[in-house]
């Protein structure tokens, strides 16, 4: 597995995403509450582009009429039929054993730390004073 620098952290605003081509794969990187998540940009159901998904909260209900929101922004709702996935691991909420989006490990590292490793940065120059999002594929 190689590590790829895909963006500087400032490039993906909170709640936003960036689509990157890593080793021929269409990957989408989301920025949620200070964390980054990388997933294949393709819904396992009928293939919708997940870059257009809504980042929503987990909504649960212990009984009719009572609603609880949690993990705000961490659930991904497919732009077509609305299937929901956990951004942390790509698992579907309704059938986690069988249906999931391929997800990839993500790290955020400072430019001065990056100097040492075997990284692949394809698209832009790296400055030591910035932080970068690294996806492992």
């Amino acid at each position: 597995m190689a590590r790829h620098i895909v963006a500087s952290t400032s490039e993906i605003p909170p709640g936003g995403n960036k689509v990157v081509d890593v080793a021929g794969r269409d990957i989408v990187v989301f920025h949620v509450n200070g964390e980054f998540f990388a997933l294949l940009n393709r819904c396992p159901h009928e293939g919708a582009p997940l870059e257009k998904a809504a980042c929503v909260a987990r909504l649960t209900s212990p009984e009719p009429g009572v609603y609880e929101r949690s993990r705000v922004g961490e659930m991904l709702r497919c732009p077509w039929h609305g299937w929901e996935f956990d951004m942390r691991n790509g698992q579907s909420w309704f059938d986690p054993k069988r249906v999931k989006i391929r997800s990839y490990p993500v790290a955020v590292e400072r430019g001065d730390e990056l100097e040492k490793g075997p990284y692949v940065a394809e698209t832009f120059p790296v400055h030591v004073e910035d932080s970068y999002v690294i996806v492992e594929v």
Binding site: E46, A54, W80
Partner: protein, 370 residues
């Protein structure tokens, strides 16, 4: 006998290597704004639309009683980058849908202004006429893949017939669309002049789900949730199928072709089995029916595929398709709505190449004569 069932596969259709171009029987274009209609709508009705809005048996102007899962029931990726609402930008529709999915023909299904549910019949007729003209000017003439339908509401039968005649003379429309929920069940005799004219003109009757026509969406009344209401499309179509068949429409108009659009098809076997079973017992109540209900269904009716029910086991979907009949199904995507089906992934069960050709192309080509 149905020309579709009996139509042999052409030689080139049998080979897996020939490219399968798709006929999509349900594509939704939208008005960018009601001003688009101005050139087709007399001043009197433009003003009426501005001052009074729609005449619907729904609670608020330009709304439906239920939220629709996503704004304008649209895919989140279908909003044109140029602004405007999903389905309103031809160039974007071509780029996102028609070109990449290799759509050979797309049949336009207009839902704007809840055209069939207008209770002011003259106003309804005026906007039907405007929308029929707009379909040609804004869509079919700019992309010949896109085929227009003659939209008429059947509760103003005389107005509907006049509009059918006007459009039929133009000669570019490929079906006549009527309401899925008119004031009365669709088999009623008062609507027969429309069916008679459709048969004479050899234009299929298209019935796309949606709207209320003043009826609650389910036979049990008004549901609480959208997900609950969404089921009702199937019940409504099942009720209309029964009405049309049992009141004798296909018996009276044996060459009439009726296409139910966006009602899905999972409910068909039980509806048809039940009709047949009861027909055996109650023949004397409906002596005008000369044949079993299932025979009329297999010869006069077609069903578009979306939304496809997705059973856990692929073989169940396969069995369902066989029960309904490979010849009865016409592919539809419902672009750009949220429950859009992608033709490459929608059928989660194995189909042979010949079956794919029928569902994705040749059935529709035979019904609509492309």
């Amino acid at each position: 006998m149905s020309e579709v069932i009996d139509r042999p596969l052409l030689e080139e259709e049998k080979t897996a290597t020939t490219r399968l171009r798709i006929v999509d029987c349900d594509v939704h274009p939208s008005l960018r704004s009601t001003d688009d209609l101005n050139e087709f709508l007399p001043k009197r009705w433009q003003q009426h639309l501005r001052e009074y809005g729609s005449h619907l048996r729904t609670p608020y102007l330009f709304t439906t009683p239920y939220p629709r899962s996503s704004p304008l029931i649209a895919r989140r990726d279908a909003w044109p980058p140029t602004g405007g609402v999903p389905g309103s930008d031809l160039a974007f529709m071509q780029k996102q849908h028609l070109d990449p999915l290799d759509v050979e023909f797309g049949i336009l299904q207009v839902l704007d202004l809840f055209i069939f549910s207008q209770q002011n019949l003259e106003f309804g007729a005026a906007i039907q006429r405007a929308i029929n003209d707009w379909q040609l000017a804004f869509w079919s003439h700019r992309d010949p893949r896109l085929k227009a339908s003659i939209l008429v509401g059947q509760d103003g039968v005389d107005l509907a017939i006049a509009e059918i005649e006007r459009c039929a003379k133009i000669g570019e429309y490929i079906q006549i669309n009527v309401s899925p929920r008119a004031n009365e069940p669709l088999g009623r005799r008062r609507y027969w002049p429309i069916y008679e004219r459709a048969q004479e003109l050899d234009l299929p009757l298209g019935i796309h789900v949606g709207g209320y026509g003043g009826h609650p969406p389910t036979g049990g009344g008004w549901p609480s949730y959208y997900v609950e209401e969404h089921q009702s499309n199937a019940h409504t179509i099942a009720a209309q199928l029964a009405s049309l068949v049992i009141e004798g429409v296909p018996e009276r108009f044996p060459r009439l072709k009726i296409v139910f659009i966006e009602g899905g098809f999972g409910w068909i076997p039980s509806a048809v089995w039940r009709m047949d079973q009861h027909f055996e017992r109650f023949r004397s109540e409906v002596p005008h029916l000369k044949r079993k209900p299932s025979e009329y269904v297999r010869e006069n009716f077609w069903f578009t595929t979306q939304p496809i029910d997705e059973p856990d086991e692929a073989r169940h979907l396969r069995a369902l398709i066989e029960w309904v009949g490979i010849d009865r199904l016409l592919f539809s995507s419902d672009y750009p709505h949220w429950d859009f089906d992608d033709p490459r992934f929608a059928f989660k069960t194995p189909l042979t190449e010949a079956e794919r050709r029928k569902i994705f192309s040749t059935n529709a080509r035979a019904v609509y004569k492309f």
